[in-house]
Every structure is written in structure tokens, then in C-alpha cells.
Symmetry: C2
Subunit: 352 residues, 2 copies
């Protein structure tokens, strides 16, 4: 099949750009003696998880048990699940997963730790648990290094659990604050006779400054594999690094300055991440995707010298690639304009 | 299985509320001699499409060929696809679909009509085509009643096509403008000797004022089956009409006024539709869902007298139900707190 025969909307993944993006960050991390533990939420594809490991990643990161199960099925053997696993059904699944692969989770409360401990006490293999630290993001995580050290001690004292270190999902603008928090937590854990052997930092937005968090032993970038309009806006990559595009067709040209495409919020999502508009059209960078309905994208062409016509196919770099792959059952892997393979998004829809 | 055993996040559908919502609008439409042609993009479930027809709907509306194919497979025999179908692969699929069921599409340009005509000229069964009119929404559609009449004539003159009427997706605030446009287009078509037998108006936001568009012969509500936070904000339904909720678990309570749930933008979507926050928590209406990451929802509890704890399960009425069902492979049908059935979302992911 040729690219021109692919029906729209479709997700295209440029495998050469993927490879370059993976190698570039691995080389950076290697040069700083920083382990890479890529977050697979972005691609949800076993093949890319395996490639990340082949290139030097110490393992992968998943955000959902379901994602981790898919990746374990595919042969990935070292998985970090930075999430508070709560409730019996999920705890039972976690035990099963821990029997199969090397796994670690996070906890940020006594409640979560007690649930883990009750479940893993008496199992064959202890569970690795890191303490999640809120170093400025305002999401999950303990609020102070003292609390982090207290939970570390609680984990260490729990039969069935093994204290493995600290984890944060940092706020990009507060790298110094992140480092100060982690260094303090590490010091306090060491003072208590504990070994915080993994200090896991994360995110693509700050990945080129990962080395500034000197306490961190590993970094967890996700979006870096595909890049997107948000990452480019932050200077993390360039348009030429963007490996994921949504292929769409112009279906209407109601006025001289308006076009409508067959990709709406069920293809591009409503994520703006603070940007204006809903993506960048590679061949018409002056066109603005001004609004989305579920199956329509409305373009303002007033800044365009040449304008796309009905039937023209456009490629769009979305604001946020991670939520786009989650909407498609399959993606089209390409090299240049050649189709390499059409592949199912194996971990798509693994919501729990 | 009991509701308490369902893993989160999950989508719950209250079938009693569904039934009441469907009956309520059907009765209203019947009282105004207005046909109902529900949009199935909201539920994507054959069972509800069939129930809508049983209750009196003249047929259904789909937004994608893929959705229509699923519904035809399930036995629905009258489908309206209000979309400009462009490009050979989709036109071929449209021919196949037209052989199986009664189908109509829209067109808003000579280009689209010529593509349809070239494809359907010589086929066994002509294709019904309505002219899409932009009566204020600023999406697809011809801009004037004169253009509408011209395209009607072009359809009528095309071998393989049959002019079937006019269609609009109206802007809620401009009902008078919508009626004026449609009445004028209808008059011009009649003057040209054409029969605009269907005048299709649409949308849940203005469904209780559908009778004010006196030229319309049918209305196409979608969201009305489930209702959501946006529809309630517009007064279209009440909280007690909301049939779809996302079940989520509190996984973290990092501070006294912050909770984190296991439903983020990959469960609730980033759709705000102009609202503040990302949903209403039924048991904690004073809690605000202030931000979403992909797998985390962050709640501000400062206005709450009682506050949910880690492990508590919450039900959330999302801002926009239509994009939520599209993220889940299956939904849990409930009656009160009893599980009726867990059913796959048959037309989910039918992106093209």
C-alpha cells in the first residue's frame, strides 16, 4: 500500500526520526552517566519499548498496570510504574506482574504503603517501592524531604516491600527546587541507614537539563520519541524532529479563508497545553487550526499565500502527541514517503 | 460482578436515565410533528441505536463511514451521514453501504458533488444527497440560500444522485437566522421544481427549541442520550438526567485540600467547552477538578466540608460525554447500583 492510499484521518510515525530522537537523548544521558527509563505512554508500542532498551535504556516506565501487562507480555523485563496502586484487584494484578518481571512502584502515603505491604507480605518476591516527591508540580507526592524519609522508613520496615529510592515528576521551571528536595530526601534516607539507590526524575520538557538535577540517577522522558508542537514551543526539539503527524483531508472550503478537515477532537484531542490552536500543518505553517468539533477541524487560511483545496491531504503536528496515539487503533510507520508497516497500538485503551 | 468490583477508571451508563432521556425528547418531537434522527457519535452502541429507532426515531445519524458500517452490520437500515465524503476509498465504501441500507450524505461544494456523481453514476441505486448549509456555526456549509439552491440543482442534474433536502448544524444562539436561511433555501429549491423533502436540523444544545425552526422536518440530537456537564450548564438537562459517569479512585491526598484521582485526560479528555474545570463529582459537588495530566486528575477540595480519602471511589459527570466514550473499549451498563452488562463500545475508534 502507498501512503496516498491510506484513509484519513490516520497517524503517521516517521521511524527514522524516532530512531534519531531515541539515540540523541540516550547519547546525552550516557555522557552524563544518567540512566534512561523511557515512558511508553507516548507510543504504547512494544517495538519501540524494545528499541529503547536496545539503545541503552535500563527499563521502561508505564503509567497504568494495563500498559505494564502489555509490555511484560511483549518481553520487557524491567518496568517502573510510578503510581499509587490502590484497591484489591489492582494489587492482585501487581503481585502477578511482580512474579513475571522486575517491577517497582511509587507510594506517597502511609495508606498506599500499608495496602502494598498487606498484599506483598508473604509473597515470593518483595516489591520495590519508591517514595514519590512533589518537588513543585502540585500533583502527587509528599510535600517535604522529612515526609519522604519517614515513608522510606515505613517501606523499609514493611515485610514484602523493599525501599528503592525517590521519584518525582518535576515542574520544568523549578530545577533547583527539585534538586534541593531530592538531595535532602536522599541525605535523610542515608542518615537513617537506608539506600535510595534510584532517584528517578522525569519528563521531556526538561530533558536537556536533566544533568542539572545531580542527585537523580535516571530520567524518564516520554514525548521525546515523537516530539510535538508543545515540545517544539519549549525548544526541546525542532519541527524536523517531530516524528508523529496526523494525516487529514480537506473536506470543505466554505469561504475563501476557511477550510475544514476530517480530523477533529477525536483525532487531535482538545489538548492545547497553553498553545493557541490545535496543531501545525506542515505544508501550510501559516494556516491556523482555530477550532475542533469531534470530527471536524476548522482552519483559518487568512495568513496563507497558497491555500489547500478540497481533497488535499495535510499532515499535522499535534499539540500533544501522547494523547493522539491513544485515540487510534493502529498507526502507520513510514520512512520518508514509504510505508514500513501498519501496526496496532498494543497498549491503547489500557485505561486501568 | 458488583459495581464495587469494577476497576477504575471506568465508564458507567445508567440505563434507566438513558431510557428516560430518549423517551423525553421523542415525546417532545412527536408533539411537534418533528422527526428524530439521533446522532450515535455519543454512544457508539448498536443497542442504543436500535432502542432509539424502536422509540420512534426515523433512523440514525453517524459522522464517520466507519460508524455507519458498524451500525449497518448491527441491523440499522436508515443512516444519515452528514459529511462531505471525499476520495476514492471512502467513495467506494459509500457505494457498498448504499447497496445495503438507506443512506444519505451531505455536500457543500461542487467538488464534493462531482466526486459523488462520478462514483454513483451507473450504480444500481442512486445516492441521496442533502446540501449542507452554514446557518451561523462557521464550520462546513454553503454561505447563502442561493448557493444552497444552486448545489441542489447540480445534485438533481447529476446521474446517480438524488437531491434530498437541506441540512444544518446550527449555532444555538441564532435560531431565527437558521430558520430564515432554511426557509429561503427551501423556497428557492421549490421554485426550481425540486423537492427538499428533508430539512435536517441538529444538536442537543437547542433541542428543546427545535420546533422554532419551523422549516425543519427532523432534528439530530446526540448528547441528549447521556447528557453531561455542558448540557446541564446550558439548561438542556439536569444533574439527575446525566446517565454517563466516569468512576475513579482517589489515589493520593498530598495536602489537606488536594486529592488526586486515577482519571486524567485519557479518561475525561481536555474538553472544557468553555467551562471551568473538568467535570462534576456527584458526591462532592464542591470539589473542583482543576487540572488533568494523562492519568491523573487533580482536585481542589478547599470548598468541601467533607473530603474524600485515598481509596474512595468517585463518580464524575464529564464536561463532554461524547469524547469520553470514545476513549473506552467497554462501558458498564448499570441500573441503580446493579450491573446490567459490560458491553464493548462497538463503533469506538472508527476514525475514518
Amino acid at each position: 500500500m502507498k501512503l496516498s492510499e491510506i484513509e484519513t484521518p490516520a497517524v503517521l510515525i516517521d521511524v527514522d526520526r524516532v530512531e534519531a530522537n531515541l539515540q540523541r537523548f540516550q547519547a546525552y544521558a550516557d555522557s552524563h552517566q544518567l540512566a534512561v527509563r523511557p515512558h511508553i505512554k507516548t507510543h504504547k508500542l512494544p517495538r519501540f519499548a524494545k528499541r529503547q532498551v536496545e539503545l541503552g535504556a535500563v527499563g521502561i516506565t508505564c503509567q497504568k498496570l494495563g500498559e505494564a501487562e502489555v509490555m511484560a507480555d511483549a518481553g520487557i523485563t524491567d518496568i517502573f510504574l510510578p503510581y499509587n496502586i490502590v484497591g484489591k484487584p489492582k494489587l492482585d494484578r501487581l503481585v502477578a506482574l511482580n512474579e513475571r518481571v522486575k517491577i517497582a512502584v511509587t507510594a506517597d502515603s502511609e495508606v498506599t504503603i500499608r495496602g502494598l505491604a498487606e498484599t506483598f507480605n508473604g509473597t515470593r518476591k518483595p516489591l520495590n517501592v519508591l517514595v514519590e516527591c512533589d518537588t513543585g508540580m502540585g500533583r502527587c507526592g509528599v510535600q517535604t524531604p522529612d515526609e519522604a524519609a519517614e515513608l522510606a522508613k515505613l517501606i523499609d520496615a514493611s515485610e514484602g516491600l523493599r525501599f528503592a529510592g525517590f521519584m518525582t515528576f518535576p515542574k520544568t521551571s523549578t530545577i533547583k527546587q527539585t534538586e534541593a528536595f531530592l538531595a535532602d530526601a536522599k541525605q535523610k534516607a542515608l542518615a537513617a541507614g537506608l539506600d535510595p539507590r534510584v532517584i528517578s526524575n522525569g519528563g521531556s520538557p526538561d530533558m536537556w537539563r536533566a544533568h542539572e538535577v545531580t542527585s537523580a540517577t535516571e530520567h524518564r522522558p516520554g514525548t521525546y520519541i515523537y516530539m510535538d508542537r508543545f515540545q517544539v514551543s519549549k525548544g526541546v526539539g525542532t519541527w524536523d524532529d517531530c516524528a508523529l503527524t496526523v494525516l487529514a483531508t480537506v473536506v470543505s472550503r466554505p469561504t475563501d479563508n476557511r477550510a475544514v478537515i476530517d480530523a477533529g477532537s477525536k483525532a487531535l484531542t482538545s489538548d492545547t497545553l497553553g498553545l493557541e490552536g490545535f496543531g501545525r500543518i506542515t505544508d501550510y505553517p501559516d494556516a491556523a487550526i482555530v477550532s475542533l468539533n469531534e470530527e471536524h477541524g476548522v482552519l483559518d487560511l487568512s495568513a496563507c499565500k497558497t491555500k489547500p483545496q478540497i481533497g488535499d491531504r495535510l499532515r499535522i503536528i499535534p499539540n500533544h502527541c501522547c494523547v493522539v496515539t491513544n485515540l487510534f487503533d493502529e498507526v502507520v510507520l513510514i520512512s520518508g514517503d514509504r510505508i514500513v508497516e501498519i501496526t496496532p497500538v498494543a497498549a491503547r485503551g489500557r485505561v486501568d
